[in-house]
Subunit: 200 residues, 2 copies
């Protein structure tokens, strides 16, 4: 039936291009659009164009922004001597939710992955080195995911950063808060044991 309704299957196909949206979900969403008011649908279409048009990369940290500088780089109270290197803009979002980190970020927009043809040149590494090269940076926290590619990228960056004499750190490994030890994998448990701390 939906195959007959060309504009519906066309819309579902567009939804299906978004990350993590399967065929069934895409069709459900397309049906869902039909239930919106005409104005809501118009707002939706405009929001897509707006986001595409207005959002670009912050010239300093390469994070997504719709202003000249992103609000974090523009914030005078953030500590510019501290840079947290993340894979993508979503990680910035997650880190900011913690509300404890007062440094700045640098968004790589990917991880080095020879398997997927992603080389260091395709990431925003040049821009990171330029920031460190100003001499204003004291520490770079590499907050890539604890995966093979995340680790490889972290190692690569740490070697690149060494000549600049900055401190390079990684996030701590360990058992997630609230997790059940019984279900933790061995590698995580090993890392948690290795990184154990004194109780004060």
């Amino acid at each position: 039936m939906a195959e007959y309704i060309e504009s519906l299957s066309n819309l579902a196909e567009k939804f299906g291009r978004l990350e993590g949206v399967g065929k069934k979900t895409a069709m459900r969403m397309a049906f869902s659009v039909l239930e919106l008011d005409v104005e809501e649908a118009e707002d939706f279409a405009r929001a897509i164009l707006d986001a595409k048009e207005k959002i670009h990369l912050c010239p300093v940290c390469q994070n997504l922004t719709d202003r000249e500088l992103c609000p974090i780089c523009a914030d005078e109270e953030r500590d510019r001597s501290l840079i947290c290197v993340v894979t993508d803009a979503r990680t910035v979002l997650a880190m900011e939710k913690v509300r404890e980190y007062r440094g700045t970020y640098h968004v790589l927009h990917g991880l080095i992955s020879p398997m997927n043809g992603i080389t260091p040149e395709q990431l925003k590494i040049k821009e990171l080195l330029a920031r460190v090269d100003t001499g204003e940076v004291g520490e770079v926290i590499v907050a890539t995911n604890p995966t093979v590619e995340g680790e490889a990228t972290a190692m690569y960056l740490s070697r690149l950063l060494q000549p600049f004499g900055v401190r390079v750190t990684r996030l701590a490994y360990g058992v997630p808060v609230g997790a059940d030890l019984e279900y933790a994998d061995e590698v995580t448990l090993y890392r948690a044991l290795e990184g154990r701390r004194d109780v004060h």
Copy 2:
């Protein structure tokens, strides 16, 4: 961070209005739109407006269509004496996948639900009665979901249809094909037992 990028959180908010899309999924989708090409994003926006503009209800069966009559009602080979009454357009989609049903449909666009303030007047029941009233209909299969509301709507319809002298049927209850009897609920098992058939 996303709160700062107004056009991004605005887009996420639009995705969040679609059925079954939570906050996190909506944000992931908004990020995903940024990764589309400009043309893809424009196509997406246009597809939303297109679907809203072109799709309306078939004047006969009340199913969604972008033509004058829906392709099923327009198909000369479909058996017009048989109407399968369904809750929504998605059920038509599911039924058509079976490829065995050669009758027509009637889409109610909801179920009677006093709890949610949905009365029979809000459904396309009047239109169903008009079709049956032509005298061309021999059987009405009520294919609403086997839920309280689906059952109540089926009972209501069967009482309404009685004076017209048409046969009113329900889909068979039973164990889903491929299911494990061990995990089937008691009501389903009871219904499956009650509806048992001779093996030929």
